[in-house]
């Protein structure tokens, strides 16, 4: 019986992801184009915020993916620790820069939206602050991968860092809320909550989120392939030097 673990074989993984990638990438592109065009040109303007409400089509999906990328890295790290499949560790490594970019997109679009609406680029609001801390976690994780020569050691160390980091990321999230208790009005941000948003905005947003998820999966698959090939190349080069 075919099990999921067969895909832990790098060769099988590359073959399968090669077959899947064009469809996945195409579907991501379709979703993004449809969602963004629909969102930007075919939705009414919000009666209070005008045009600027439309940034949610970039802001919400990227914020959503920034958090989920870390969760995916956590799961991949756990699989590496427990079952020691190299593809899993490499997938975690491949996801980190994508997640970091998503965090930056979310922070940047938030700042661009905040300037006209809140009258400021940045406030030390719980959501903003916890995203900044998440970004720092991504930076530390990427830097640790880059700093260690030996691949297996790097995979082990970053996996432990990811576990500890997840606990502390969660802790910071709640610590930050506590710290700013009652300082900030919540009403402005409740637009982010999907139940508060009208259907006209909701459906293109769903398409955009689907597009971002597909894009993330496609990018991670592609980057994992690259990591596997780069590692093979290093192994070949090492063999050449020896022989």
């Amino acid at each position: 019986m075919a099990s999921l673990w067969e895909y832990a074989n790098p060769k099988k993984f590359i073959a399968t992801s090669d077959r899947v990638l064009p469809y996945l990438g195409g579907l991501a592109l379709v979703c993004l184009v449809v969602g963004l065009v629909w969102g930007f040109w075919f939705t009414p303007e919000d009666f209070r915020q005008g045009h600027s409400v439309k940034i949610i089509y970039l802001h919400v999906p990227s914020a959503f993916m920034a958090i989920n990328a870390w969760i995916m890295m956590l799961v991949a790290s756990l699989i590496w620790i427990v079952r020691r499949h190299h593809v899993s560790a490499l997938a975690a490594r491949a996801a980190a820069p994508v997640g970091a970019v998503m965090t930056v997109i979310a922070l940047a679009t938030g700042a661009i939206w905040g300037q006209p609406i809140w009258g400021t680029w940045w406030v030390w609001d719980p959501r903003l602050t916890s995203f900044l801390i998440l970004f720092l976690f991504y930076l530390g994780y990427i830097a640790l991968w880059a700093a260690i020569e030996d691949d297996d050691t790097a995979a082990d160390l970053t996996a432990v860092l990811c576990l500890v980091g997840s606990v502390f990321a969660l802790l910071s999230r709640y610590a930050v809320i506590f710290w700013n208790q009652g300082l900030h009005q919540g009403a402005t941000l409740s637009l982010d909550k999907e139940e508060n948003i009208a259907d006209v905005f909701y459906f293109p947003l769903l398409v955009c989120i689907a597009g971002f998820v597909l894009l993330f999966v496609a990018l991670v698959l592609l980057r994992t392939q690259t990591e596997i090939r780069a590692r093979r190349m290093r192994a070949l080069q090492a063999r050449e030097r020896l022989g």
Binding site: L144, T153, V160, F178
Partner: protein, 218 residues
């Protein structure tokens, strides 16, 4: 364990730097702040607790890479790892020694420096209490960071990048408790959270540090 503790303490005392450097750095940070923000007493007293917490955190960060680096370089870390003491115990002792040599002097120096920053008198006790509760967590988290980066040459910058986000919750609750104390509000909740973080890190992080150290010594 006690032999290891006394050895670490003696090393910190005699090699210099370890003991005094953190304190001197703490002093410098606190002295520099009035130059930067201007010597207005009302302004200083409102930011005093936060400045003292930041100063303590940075001073703690400064000495982190000394926890394992020296033992790693001269090979005694390998010997310690093969000793009958479990690695988790070794890591805890190291963290405790780090706290005794940096955390505790910082707590002791904080009231003196608080006077220089015009901290209101009712804020002294909460400040000392919050530092006393919070600095062990800083040492334990820092030991984890030091264990992570022990094999890396010139890992100091990486160490601070890794450790600083982990310090965020401790800093928030610690500074919050000190600030509320200075303003005469109730400090029970942030102190309880702070104590929770400290107990949690002391209970769990030595296992992560030991695991990481094992990987690095492989």
């Amino acid at each position: 364990m006690i032999a290891l503790l006394t050895r670490d303490l003696r090393l910190a005392l005699r090699t210099g730097g370890g003991f005094g450097l953190g304190l001197a750095f703490f002093l410098i940070v606190v002295v520099m702040v009035p130059f930067a923000v201007g010597p207005r007493a009302d302004l200083l007293s409102s930011i005093a607790s936060g400045v003292l917490w930041i100063g303590a955190l940075l001073a703690c960060l400064l000495s982190l890479d000394r926890i394992f680096a020296l033992d790693w370089e001269d090979g005694s870390l390998d010997l310690l790892a093969t000793a009958p003491l479990p690695l988790e115990g070794l890591v805890s002792v190291k963290a405790f020694a780090h706290w005794l040599t940096t955390g505790l002097p910082l707590v002791a120096a904080a009231p003196v420096l608080a006077v220089m920053l015009n901290l209101p008198p009712q804020g002294f006790f909460p400040l000392i209490l919050s530092l006393l509760l919070g600095t062990p967590a800083l040492s334990v988290i820092g030991t984890f960071g030091a264990a992570l980066t022990v094999g890396i040459k010139r890992g100091g910058l990486l160490l601070s990048l890794l450790v600083l986000p982990l310090y965020v919750p401790t800093l928030i609750f610690g500074a919050e408790a000190a600030r509320r104390g200075a303003e005469g509000l109730s400090i029970t909740t942030p102190l309880a959270f702070l104590a929770g973080i400290t107990c949690g890190t002391i209970a769990l992080l030595p296992f992560a540090s030991a695991a990481v150290l094992r990987i690095n010594l492989r």
